[in-house]
C-alpha cells in the first residue's frame, strides 16, 4: 500500500474513533501538542495512561474484592481514572467512570462490580483502538510519509 493510501486509511480510522465516541476533542489537543521537539508525545502520554490505568484497574478489582469494601478508596481510584482518561480523550472510559462513581456513592457493591466490568471493557477497547492507530502511524512513517493532522472541527 502506498503512503497516500495509508494516510487515507489513518484519517478514516481516526474519524471513526471520534464518531463512535472512543475519543473526544481532548485527544485532538494532544495531537496538536505534538511537534518536532516532541514527535512521540502522543504515544508517550497514551502509554503512560495505559500503565497507570492498568494499575488502577487492578487496585479497583482488589478493593472491591474485600470483605468490607472501602468505598472511599474505590471512589478515589475511580476519580483518578476518570481524570486521566478524560485528559487523553478516552471518552467512553470516562463516562463509564462517571457511572461508576455514582454507584460508589450509593455504596452498592453489585452495581460497582458491574461498573468495574464496564470500565475494564471500555478501557481494553480503547486501548486496542489506539494501538491500531499508532501502528498505522508507524507504517506511514516507515514508508516515508507524514502523519496527517486531523481536522475534526470540534
Amino acid at each position: 500500500m502506498e503512503v497516500g493510501q495509508m494516510q487515507g486509511r489513518l484519517v478514516d480510522y481516526t474519524k471513526s474513533l471520534f464518531m463512535e465516541g472512543f475519543l473526544d476533542g481532548q485527544f485532538l489537543q494532544l495531537q496538536q501538542l505534538q511537534d518536532e521537539s516532541n514527535p512521540d508525545f502522543v504515544v508517550e502520554v497514551v502509554s503512560l495512561f495505559f500503565d497507570d490505568s492498568e494499575k488502577l484497574l487492578n487496585d479497583l478489582t482488589m478493593a472491591l474484592d474485600q470483605k468490607n469494601v472501602d468505598f472511599k478508596k474505590v471512589d478515589a481510584h475511580v476519580h483518578q481514572l476518570k481524570g486521566s482518561s478524560s485528559s487523553i480523550g478516552a471518552q467512553r472510559v470516562k463516562n463509564a467512570c462517571i457511572a461508576f462513581r455514582n454507584f460508589c456513592e450509593e455504596q452498592n457493591i453489585e452495581a460497582c462490580l458491574g461498573c468495574l466490568q464496564q470500565v475494564k471493557q471500555e478501557y481494553y477497547l480503547v486501548k486496542n483502538k489506539l494501538e491500531t492507530l499508532f501502528r498505522l502511524e508507524r507504517q506511514i512513517v516507515a514508508a516515508g510519509g507524514s502523519i496527517p493532522l486531523m481536522e475534526m472541527g470540534f
Binding site: 481532548q26 489537543q29 494532544l30 496538536q32 501538542l33 511537534d35 516532541n38 508525545f41 508517550e44 502520554v45 503512560l48 495512561f49 497507570d52 478515589a76 476519580h79 483518578q80 476518570k82 481524570g83 486521566s84 478524560s86 485528559s87 487523553i88 480523550g89
Partner: protein
C-alpha cells in the same frame, strides 16, 4: 493550538532568564512564567507540562504535594504561580493551597475532574485564584499569567489606597478610642479598633505617598526587633509609627512595619486559635474570661511584652502568646487539642506572664482553663509561647487558642495566662469552654487593642484548618495583619488575587472563634460584618473592602472563572472555618466569597499582605474576639459581628452563617490598609 506561534516574537531563549532575574516583568512576559504543577496523576502531569511548555512557561512538575511544598519553601521566589490538583493521596489539594497562600502568597490554581459546585466553591473559599476542570485545555492555561499580574497589581493598589482611605476613616475613629480597653463589649472593640486604625492609617498615609514598595525581607533579626518593639509598646499600643521609631532601622518605612504588623497580628491570632482549637480549651477558656476581658486586655499586652522583654518569652513566643491571647478571648471551643501543646510552650514563661495584675491572672486562670480544657496544669501561656516556637504547631495552636481561650480575657491575657502555667491550669479545667462563644463581645476589645491582631483567630470548630505545620510562626508573625483596619478602603477588593490562601489555614482556627461570632454575625446578615471593622478601622467604606464586591460583584470583580480567584484566601478561610462542617450552602458561599474578597482585598494590596491577610483572617477569626468581631465582620460578613457595620448583608451573612466565625476574621486581614510592603512572610 500551539501558542508558540503567537509568542514567537518573544525571545524565548532569554525569557526565562529575564523573568527570573528580576522583579520587573520582562518584555516576553508571560513567556518564562515559572509554573509549578502538582498532580499525582502521571498522565495529567505530563500533558500539563507539555501544554505549559507550549505556552512558553517554565514548568516544574511534581507528583506529591509535600515535594511541592518543600520546593516552594526552599525557593520562595522561585515560582510565580502554582497549579495543583485537588485530589492527591498525600495531602489534600486545598490544604496545600492554604499552605502556599499563607507561606508564600503565590497565586494558586486548583484543578480537578470534579466540577461539582461544592468543590469549586471550596476552591474559592480557600483562596484559589482559579479553578480548572479537567481535562484541561491549553487555552485555559494560556491565560494563567493574568493571576500573577493581578495579584501584584492589587498589592500595589492597596498600597496606594491605604493612604487615601485612612484619612476618611480616621476622623470618625478618633472618637471611639475611649472605650478601647474598658469593656469587652463590641462597642469598645470597635472603637479600639478604630483607634488603632486611625493610627495606622495616619501613618500609612504618609508613607503611601512614596508609593514605593520596597521589598522588605523580614529576617529573623529584623523580626525580633519588631517583636521587641511591639512588646515594648504593648500590643494594644503598637502602632507602626512607634514601632518604626523603636526599631530604628534605616530604610524601613512605616508601611513596611504596618503590613508586617498586620501579619503579625494575624499570626498571633492564629496561634491562639490553634492552640485552642486543639485542646478545646477555648470553650472553657472563654467563658470566665468574658468579664475580665475588657480590662485585662491592656494587661495582656503588657504581660506578654514584659515577658518578651525579659527575654524569657521569646519574641516569637510572645507574639504567639499574644496572638493566642487575642484569639482566646473569643474562646472558641475549637481549641481543643492544641492547647495541650501550647501549654508546653507557654509554660516557660509563666512567671512573667503573671504580670501581677490581678485581673490578668484572673483572666489567665480563666483563660487557661479554657484553653487547656483538659490540661490540668499546663499553663497555657507557656503553651502558647512554646507553640510559637514550634512554629508549625504554633500557627495552629495559636489560632486556636486565641479564638478559644481568650474569650473572657482578651487575647493578651490569654497569652499571658498561658504563660502562667501552674496555677491556672486547674482553673482552666474548670472553665469549660462554654464561655468561649461568649467572648466575642467582650473579648473583642481587649485583645484587639493589643494589636496583636489576634489574627490567630482560631476559629471555633475549625480545628483542622489551623495551619499549623505549614505556617511558620516566625515568619508568619509578620503576617499578622491587623489589616482589617486599614485596608478596607484599599481593598477595593476586586482583584483579590490573593490567590494564595494562606489565610485559609488561619481561618480554620478562626472557626472556633467564629462560632461565637457567627451567632452574632448571623444577625447582621450583611456581608459586611467584617467591613464594619474595617470601616471602623479606616475605612468607612466597606466597599473598599472587597467585601462589597464580593457580595455583589463577587463574580464580576473576581475573575471570570471564579470568585475563587479573588477571594481566595479570605473566603476560603472564612468559609473553611465556618464550613468545616460542610455547611457551605449558597449563602455560605457568598459569604465565603465575600470574606475572601475582603480578605483578598487586603491582600491584594500587598503581596506580602496577601499572606498576611490570610493569616490575619485566621487570626482574626480566632483570637480576637474583639478583633474578630470587627474583623470578622469585615471578613465574614456573616459574622455579624458588627451588625451595624455591614452593609453587604447578603454575602456576609451567608458567609458568616456558614463560617461561623471564620469569615470576619478574614476580612480584617486583608485589608489592613497597610500597604504592607512585601513582607515576605
Amino acid at each position: 493550538m500551539n501558542s508558540s506561534g503567537g509568542k514567537g516574537s518573544m525571545s524565548t531563549a532569554s525569557s526565562s532568564a529575564a523573568w527570573k532575574a528580576g522583579d520587573v516583568v520582562p518584555d516576553q512576559f508571560p513567556a518564562g512564567l515559572r509554573v509549578l504543577v502538582v498532580d499525582d496523576d502521571p498522565t495529567c502531569l505530563m500533558i500539563l507540562e507539555k501544554m505549559l511548555r507550549t505556552c512558553l512557561y517554565e514548568v516544574t512538575k511534581c507528583n506529591r504535594a509535600e515535594t511541592a511544598l518543600s520546593m516552594l519553601r526552599e525557593n520562595k521566589n522561585g515560582f510565580d504561580i502554582v497549579i495543583s490538583d485537588v485530589h492527591m493521596p498525600d495531602m489534600d489539594g486545598f490544604k496545600l493551597l492554604e499552605h502556599i497562600g499563607l507561606e508564600m502568597d503565590l497565586p494558586v490554581i486548583m484543578m480537578s475532574a470534579d466540577d461539582g459546585k461544592h468543590v469549586v466553591m471550596k476552591g474559592v473559599t480557600h483562596g484559589a485564584c482559579d479553578y480548572l476542570i479537567k481535562p484541561v485545555r491549553i487555552e485555559a492555561l494560556k491565560n494563567i499569567w493574568q493571576h500573577v499580574v493581578r495579584k501584584r497589581k492589587n498589592e500595589w493598589k492597596d498600597f496606594e489606597q491605604s493612604g487615601s482611605v485612612e484619612e476618611g476613616d480616621r476622623q470618625p475613629k478618633q472618637s471611639e478610642e475611649a472605650d478601647y480597653s474598658s469593656s469587652a463589649n463590641e462597642g469598645n472593640w470597635k472603637s479600639s479598633k478604630k483607634r488603632k486604625d486611625d493610627d495606622d492609617e495616619a501613618e500609612e498615609r504618609d508613607d503611601t505617598s512614596t508609593l514605593k514598595k520596597p521589598r522588605v525581607v523580614w529576617s529573623v533579626e529584623l523580626h525580633q526587633q519588631f517583636v521587641a518593639a511591639v512588646n515594648q509598646l504593648g500590643i494594644d499600643k503598637a502602632v507602626p509609627k512607634k514601632i518604626l521609631e523603636l526599631m530604628n532601622v534605616p530604610g524601613l518605612t512605616r508601611e513596611n512595619v504596618a503590613s508586617h504588623l498586620q501579619k503579625y497580628r494575624l499570626y498571633l491570632r492564629r496561634l491562639s486559635g490553634v492552640s485552642q482549637h486543639q485542646s478545646n480549651l477555648n470553650n472553657s477558656f472563654i467563658s470566665p474570661q468574658e468579664a475580665t476581658f475588657g480590662p485585662l486586655s491592656p494587661l495582656n499586652g503588657l504581660d506578654l511584652q514584659t515577658l518578651a522583654a525579659t527575654g524569657q518569652l521569646p519574641a516569637q513566643s510572645l507574639a504567639t502568646l499574644q496572638a493566642a491571647g487575642l484569639g482566646r478571648s473569643t474562646a472558641k471551643s475549637g481549641i481543643a487539642m492544641p492547647l495541650v501543646d501550647q501549654r508546653n510552650i507557654f509554660s516557660f514563661e509563666n512567671p512573667k506572664l503573671r504580670f501581677g495584675e490581678g485581673q490578668q491572672q484572673h483572666m489567665n486562670n480563666n483563660k487557661q482553663i479554657n484553653l487547656l480544657h483538659g490540661i490540668p496544669t499546663t499553663m497555657e501561656p507557656k503553651q502558647l509561647a512554646s507553640l510559637h516556637h514550634s512554629a508549625q504547631s504554633i500557627g495552629n495552636m495559636n489560632v486556636q487558642v486565641t479564638s478559644h481561650g481568650v474569650q473572657g480575657s482578651q487575647n493578651n491575657s490569654l497569652l499571658i495566662q498561658m504563660a502562667q502555667p501552674q496555677p491556672r491550669g486547674q482553673i482552666l479545667n474548670d472553665s469549660a469552654g462554654s464561655h468561649a462563644p461568649r467572648l466575642p463581645s467582650t473579648m473583642g476589645q481587649p485583645i484587639l487593642s493589643n494589636g496583636i491582631a489576634a489574627n490567630v483567630s482560631t476559629r471555633n470548630g475549625i480545628p483542622e484548618n489551623i495551619r499549623g505545620p505549614g505556617y511558620n510562626p516566625v515568619s508568619q508573625t509578620s503576617s499578622m495583619l491587623n489589616f482589617p483596619m486599614n485596608h478596607t478602603s484599599e481593598l477595593p477588593g476586586n482583584s483579590f488575587p490573593l490567590g494564595s490562601t494562606p489565610g485559609i489555614s488561619s481561618l480554620t482556627s478562626k472557626g472556633a472563634f467564629q462560632e461565637d461570632l457567627n451567632s452574632d454575625i448571623k444577625g447582621s446578615g450583611g456581608f459586611m460584618p467584617s467591613y464594619d471593622i474595617f470601616n471602623d478601622l479606616n475605612q468607612h467604606k466597606p466597599q473598599n473592602w472587597e467585601l462589597q464586591n464580593v457580595g455583589m460583584t463577587f463574580d464580576a470583580s473576581q475573575h471570570s472563572n471564579s470568585l475563587q480567584g479573588n477571594l481566595d484566601l479570605a473566603q476560603s478561610v472564612l468559609v473553611q472555618q465556618g464550613f468545616s462542617s460542610g455547611q457551605m450552602n449558597g449563602q455560605n458561599r457568598s459569604a465565603a466569597v465575600v470574606s475572601k474578597a475582603m480578605f483578598s482585598a487586603g491582600d491584594c494590596t500587598e503581596q506580602g499582605n496577601a499572606q498576611n491577610v490570610n493569616h490575619h483572617l485566621n487570626n482574626l477569626l480566632v483570637d480576637n474576639t474583639i478583633r474578630i468581631k470587627s474583623e470578622r465582620v469585615a471578613d465574614a460578613g456573616p459574622a455579624n459581628l458588627f451588625p451595624d457595620h455591614f452593609g453587604q448583608d447578603d454575602l456576609m451573612s451567608a458567609l458568616l452563617k456558614q463560617q461561623e466565625g471564620i469569615a470576619p476574621a478574614e476580612n480584617e486581614f486583608d485589608f489592613d490598609g497597610y500597604s504592607m510592603d512585601n513582607i515576605p512572610v
